[in-house]
């Protein structure tokens, strides 16, 4: 009797698993399809796209669209390609991520290990800042950038993204450090370590996973941001996303779809790379944060 049911359970399991895998496969294909189309069409001459099937592999392989998108395509009025804007984005995203992560880690450290009166209120406000819609701050932010005389510059964008990013970074680090044993901090205090020494020598070396989570999150969000980029840094200071839009919506001449595809992939490449390099740690960091936090 029990043998029969076990047998049953096993076969139900097998059917179930097959079904699950099939579904997963289907979804994977569904999500990969656009990427496939982008890659395939970015290595075709334009004539193959306009004349035929978007899904087909190229008859004639070419990297000309990539070169064009990178260095010669018309962005707005200048034939500069995406290259200068790519570096704009890098100059925006790297300082913003570094500053946010450092401040977020320090905030998390203070909010969990150096508690003070009103700390939960401050944390609550920071948390709240994560959920303020971007549109609401556009005008006040423009005013502040104007006063600081960094409107329309990459520095201005860095400031905007730091302001928004600190909330998230603080949230991540606070929850991570909340699970970090306070006795370690006390032991270090007795050992004579100061505020920053405890941070550098004790907490930071154990913060790898959450730092990765924080960096990936900030990097993708800041890199992909369009609204702030379009609002506060048009023209030469525009980030990659804005430049991509300008590339695609340039009204002069024929629409070079293959160049657009190549440009879109170029714009997405850094975030993809970050995921591929650090993705393993990302999952691990998320787990660590959620289980302990």
């Amino acid at each position: 009797m029990s043998v029969a049911t076990q047998d049953n359970a096993a076969s139900v399991g097998r059917v179930g698993r097959t079904f699950v895998y099939l579904t997963l496969l289907l979804f994977a294909l569904f999500y990969l399809l656009p990427f496939f189309i982008m890659v395939v069409n970015s290595v075709k001459p334009l004539s193959e796209i306009t004349g035929g099937n978007m899904m087909a592999l190229p008859q004639e392989w070419t990297i000309a669209p990539w070169l064009s998108a990178w260095s010669t395509a018309q962005i707005g009025v200048e034939p500069t390609g995406l290259r200068p804007y790519f570096w704009n984005s890098i100059r925006m995203v790297v300082p913003a991520v570094v500053i946010c992560t450092i401040i977020g880690a320090l905030n998390g450290y203070v909010l969990t290990k150096w508690r003070f009166r009103g700390d939960t209120i401050i944390f609550g406000l920071m948390l709240f800042s994560c959920f303020i819609p971007f549109q609401i701050v556009l005008i006040p932010m423009a005013r502040i950038l104007g006063i600081l005389e960094i409107a329309g510059t990459t520095t201005g964008l860095v400031l905007v993204h730091v302001v928004y990013g600190i909330g998230f970074a603080t949230l991540y680090f606070r929850n991570y450090y909340a699970a970090f044993p306070t006795e370690l901090v006390r032991a270090a205090q007795i050992d004579g370590a100061g505020f920053f020494q405890i941070f550098y020598r004790i907490l930071l070396p154990s913060s790898g996973p959450i730092t990765v989570v924080c960096v990936i999150w900030l990097f993708t969000n800041i890199w992909n941001d369009f609204l702030f980029g379009a609002s506060f840094a048009s023209g030469d200071a525009a980030p990659m996303t804005v430049a991509l839009n300008n590339l695609v919506s340039s009204s002069t001449g024929v629409k070079e779809y293959n160049v657009h595809f190549a440009g879109a992939i170029l714009a997405a490449l850094p975030t993809l790379l970050v995921y591929i390099v650090a993705g393993r740690f990302f999952v691990r960091g998320l787990m660590a944060g959620s289980v302990k936090g």
Binding site: E183, A187, A188, Q189, A193, I202
Partner: protein
């Protein structure tokens, strides 16, 4: 003036006072154990000595230097935590020397101190490992090493053994005692385990509800507990405390207690002062080892009283057999020899050593003193 003076110290969180006016003077080389149930304020007091918690009122001084407001690292104390609190990213050697490094001790001296401590604790072979690669007992040693290396005036321990399994706990207990006998440093040790308190200490402070209930040597605490709480908290199995009435028989005060059945038993007191309580209710406290079979009774005692009562339950533990009976309406445990002849449900003549009996005022629960 002691070596470590705790003077009128209180601690409040907001409006709640969790420690009430603690006064303890610890002599140099003493091993003071703070013992009490969870939440009684032991860790709070220890953290105040360490400087990790502020002192609401009163004064703590070490070597006649007032420590209120002095940073933990400047008190020349070392602390061993319950979780060991080893720095997970550092090797054992780095863990041990971190404090010296922070205090600016030159490298050659640190190396030498590390070597001395490592050989003292027999952890030489572990120095390159990370805490995560150590067993519980090894971590415990490293934590002690970290404390020892600083050569502090006072060692503070907060339940250092409670994360170890039973066997290791007993071994480490002996080792801590040995270490103290060799080094003769002053120790304040927090535990909720009364056996640890009894075995390790030179003096014990029994705490409950934010009050120090009694401060004394292990023998004082055990033999003459100040109140019912101390009496029942210290000792395992706990002291039997049963309601009784004092009655004078032939001019001698007796404790009259209800037996399981039949008439009340009369147990003659060894102390004369109980006459003052004639006719009044008291609580009679007798430790299990003071109720034995006649053959096992203490030969040095001048006051062995026979108590016939019905045997309830017998529990052989190997070394002894514990016998439960009903006395004064309560379960009372007697400690008999292992090969005792008692039979369940039969009457038995227990020998009660009334010299070891104590009496408490049922209103205040304080011990009635001679």
């Amino acid at each position: 003036m002691g070596f470590l003076d705790i003077n009128h110290v209180t601690k409040s969180y907001g409006n709640v006072e969790v420690l009430h006016r603690v006064d303890i003077a610890v002599e140099e080389g003493e091993f003071l154990v703070l013992v009490g149930p969870s939440g009684c304020g032991k860790s709070t007091l220890l953290n105040m000595i360490a400087g990790l918690e502020g002192i609401t009122s009163g004064e703590i001084s070490i070597k006649d230097r007032v420590m209120n407001g002095v940073h933990p690292s400047k008190r020349n104390i070392a602390m061993v935590f319950q979780s060991y609190a080893l720095y997970p990213n550092m090797s054992v050697a780095q863990n041990i020397t971190f404090g010296l490094e922070m205090h600016g001790t030159p490298k050659p001296e640190r190396e030498k101190a590390l070597k001395d401590v490592a050989s003292l604790l027999q952890i030489d072979h572990l120095l390159d490992r990370k805490p995560g690669q150590l067993s519980g007992g090894q971590r415990q040693r490293v934590a002690m090493g970290r404390a020892l290396v600083r050569n502090p005036d006072v060692f503070l321990f907060d339940e250092p053994l409670s994360n170890l399994d039973a066997k290791l706990r007993v071994d480490m207990r002996t080792e801590i005692k040995k270490l103290h006998q060799n080094l003769k440093t002053t120790v304040v040790y927090v535990t909720h385990d009364q056996i640890e308190a009894m075995t390790l200490s030179t003096r014990i402070a029994v705490m409950f509800d934010g009050y120090v209930q009694q401060l004394g040597t292990p023998k004082e605490i055990y033999d003459t507990p100040e109140n019912v709480f101390v009496a029942t908290f210290m000792g395992s199995p706990a002291m039997n405390v049963v309601p009784a009435k004092v009655e004078m028989v032939d001019g001698v005060p007796h404790a009259k207690v209800a037996r399981a059945e039949g008439d009340d038993a009369l147990l003659a007191f060894a102390q004369d002062n109980m006459s003052e309580w004639a006719g009044k209710d008291i609580l009679l406290g007798i430790r299990p080892e003071a109720i034995t079979d006649p053959e096992g009774a203490d030969r040095d005692s001048n006051c062995i009283v026979t108590l016939a009562n019905r045997v309830g339950v017998t529990e052989p533990s190997g070394a002894d057999t514990f016998v439960t009976m009903t006395l004064g309406g309560k379960d009372v445990i007697a400690r008999m020899r292992a090969d005792t002849t008692v039979q369940v449900d039969e009457m038995f003549d227990f020998a009660v050593n009334m010299e070891k009996a104590v009496a408490f005022d049922p209103q205040t629960e304080a011990r009635i003193k001679a």
